[in-house]
């Protein structure tokens, strides 16, 4: 049933999500909502010296949104912010590909399981919910750092 959409990897992340539960310390916390279905996620990000030190989250939503947020944390934690943003880009591109893109496992790891989701426009937003929240939080964290630095400098 629903094989193309619900890959085993997705179901695994859904049943046993990674890095779930809000943790301290963090720099920025954001709350994103998917208005069409009511799915919500709260994401906390800690950026230290240009590295994504930690990402934690809590939320409610469908298997796709929960699993993709879990996969996201695996992919960005410990990476340079730039690198993590590149991964984000790659995932975004995959989701917008309408099933036409062969995902790069080296870049997206478990994220390739979501290739099939891109054929279901109504679910693409679910898959992106956590990723968009992370990007938003990270951008704020980086901006704050720049601000702090410039304050110190002045």
């Amino acid at each position: 049933m629903t094989e193309s959409l619900y890959q085993e990897i997705i179901l695994d992340h859904y049943r046993r999500p990674h890095h779930k539960g809000l943790r301290d310390p963090f720099d920025v916390e954001v709350h994103h909502v998917n208005p069409t279905c009511g799915d919500e996620v709260t994401v906390r990000v800690q950026v230290v010296d240009g590295v994504v030190k930690d990402v934690s989250y809590d939320g409610q939503g469908c298997s796709i949104s929960q699993a993709s947020t879990s996969v996201m944390t695996d992919l960005v934690i410990g990476k340079q912010v730039d690198e993590a943003l590149t991964t984000h880009e790659a995932f975004l591109e995959l989701m917008q590909s309408k099933g036409q893109l062969e995902p790069d496992e080296d870049v997206l790891e478990d994220g390739i399981a979501f290739a099939g989701v891109s054929k279901y426009p109504a679910r693409v937003k679910c898959a992106l919910l956590g990723w968009m929240a992370w990007k938003d939080a990270t951008a704020q964290a980086v901006a704050n750092t720049v601000l702090d630095n410039s304050k110190e400098a002045s």
């Binding site: 049933m1 629903t2 959409l5 619900y6 049943r15 069409t36 279905c37 009511g38 799915d39 919500e40 409610q60 939503g61 469908c62 298997s63 796709i64 279901y120 679910r123 679910c126």
Partner: protein, 422 residues
């Protein structure tokens, strides 16, 4: 099932009806399509499509403005459609305004009531009343009107079993209330509201009433005069008609006392650069080229439903709804949002499956060929009220069968198995 229900199922020849809807013989993921998303939109039968096409291919022209033959034929057909649609809900020709959907019909009233010259001048201290079970289309326009005018929006809450909480009625609808807008039948809970009680209270305090009939008109006989309302709005695509057409019914003297909503061609009387005067209703509210062929198709849809008999359709749906409610009740780990009997109830049944998000329920059912709607069904406050992020909703109509209800019930078991909650 009662005897009356058995008889009525026979009164509607569902197999014959199904032949009028080509999509019903489609397969989805290799399974026969079971279309249970009718509260969102219904399919359109061949006679309706043919009526529109015949008009467009042989008699089409713009209306109201010409003396040539096609223009006269088009005008006649369009105005006859108005009569048909108006009488379908017990109204008169001049009382019916064609809009593009029920949402526009409601916005029409909300904007007209806020425009200069309105029969009620809303301002701070005035109130507009709605209910907590409204579709966003009968909520957001009033929020916006309140914001524009400074009036206050109030609402009737809901009981745990999915009904309006009438204990607050006298407080929510009070001397300051200028307009009370509520739905006839809820698209998410299925609840049919006691229009007589609500209109009765509105009359006591002199408030105008607007009833959103989007979910009642397709499914049961409606008589706006008997209901005693001031405005009644409904939409074509849920009643075997096309998209792009809805209607606002209103009392003639009220419509004629209201300022226009949109400005443009056909709604005017005398236009000068310095200012214009407006035509009487219904033209006053139909700016620009109307939804001509859609209105004609909607009239054909009314004829189609009338021929089958709204009573028969209603009885058929009661039978299907009873079967679905019974089935869900006897199913572990599933529960219904809204009334759990067919008493004062439409055919939309919202349910949740414990441990499986509604989106996953919907997606998994689709794999089995079953189309249900998932989400907040444009009634987010209802989900919030009952503490769920969303629901799955199965809603039957004239072409659904008991066998399809059974397919759905059986499929829910499979969904539970797949998601490991059984």
């Amino acid at each position: 099932m009662t005897l009356r229900e058995v008889a009525s199922v026979a009164a509607l020849d569902v197999e014959a009806v199904r032949k009028d809807f080509p999509v019903l013989s489609r397969e989805v993921h290799g399974k026969p399509l079971v279309y249970l998303d009718n509260a969102s939109s219904s399919h359109k039968p061949t006679p309706v499509l043919d009526a529109e096409r015949e008009f467009v291919e042989q008699h089409y022209s713009n209306v109201h403005r010409g003396v040539h033959t096609l223009s006269q034929e088009a005008t006649d057909t369009y105005e006859n459609a108005r009569t048909t649609v108006a009488s379908f809900i017990g109204g008169q020709h001049d009382e019916l305004v064609f809009t593009k959907n029920v949402t526009e019909a409601i916005n029409l009233v909300a904007y007209s009531f806020g425009n200069p010259g309105s029969p009620v001048m809303l301002g701070p201290g005035d109130e507009i009343a709605v209910t907590e079970m409204e579709h966003h289309s009968n909520l957001v326009p009033w929020q916006m009107l309140a914001e524009r005018t400074g009036a206050t929006l109030r609402w009737l809450g809901l009981t745990d079993d999915g009904r309006l909480d009438l204990s607050d009625l006298d407080e929510v609808v009070n001397e300051r209330t200028k307009l009370f807008a509520f739905t006839h039948v809820s698209n998410i809970l299925g609840t049919e509201n006691p229009v007589d009680v609500l209109v009765g209270r509105a009359r006591e305090v002199g408030a105008y009433t607007l009833v959103d009939g989007a979910q009642s008109v397709p499914h049961q006989p409606v008589d706006v005069v008997a209901l005693g309302v001031d405005f009644f709005a409904f939409t074509g695509h849920k009643m075997v008609g096309p998209t792009g057409v809805g209607a606002l019914w209103g009392r003639t003297e009220l419509l004629n006392a209201m300022p226009p909503f949109m400005g443009g061609g056909s709604m005017i009387e005398v236009v000068q650069m310095t200012g214009s005067t407006y035509a009487p209703a219904p033209e006053r509210f139909e700016a620009g080229t109307p939804v001509i062929s859609q209105a004609i198709a909607l009239a054909a849809a009314c004829d189609y439903l009338t021929e089958l008999g709204l009573d028969n359709i209603k009885q058929h749906e009661i039978a299907l709804t009873a079967r679905l409610l019974d089935g869900l009740r006897s199913l572990d780990g599933a529960s219904v949002l809204g009334p759990d009997t067919t008493e004062m109830r439409g055919s939309a049944v919202s349910f949740v499956v414990d441990g499986v998000h509604p989106h996953d329920v919907g997606q998994s059912l689709d794999d089995l060929g079953i189309a249900v709607r998932v989400g907040h069904h444009c009634a987010a406050p209802v989900c919030r009220r009952y503490g769920v992020p969303a629901t799955a909703r199965a809603s039957s109509y004239l072409y659904n069968t008991e066998a399809e209800i059974d397919v759905l019930l059986e499929a829910i078991l499979q969904v539970q198995a797949f998601w490991g909650v059984r």
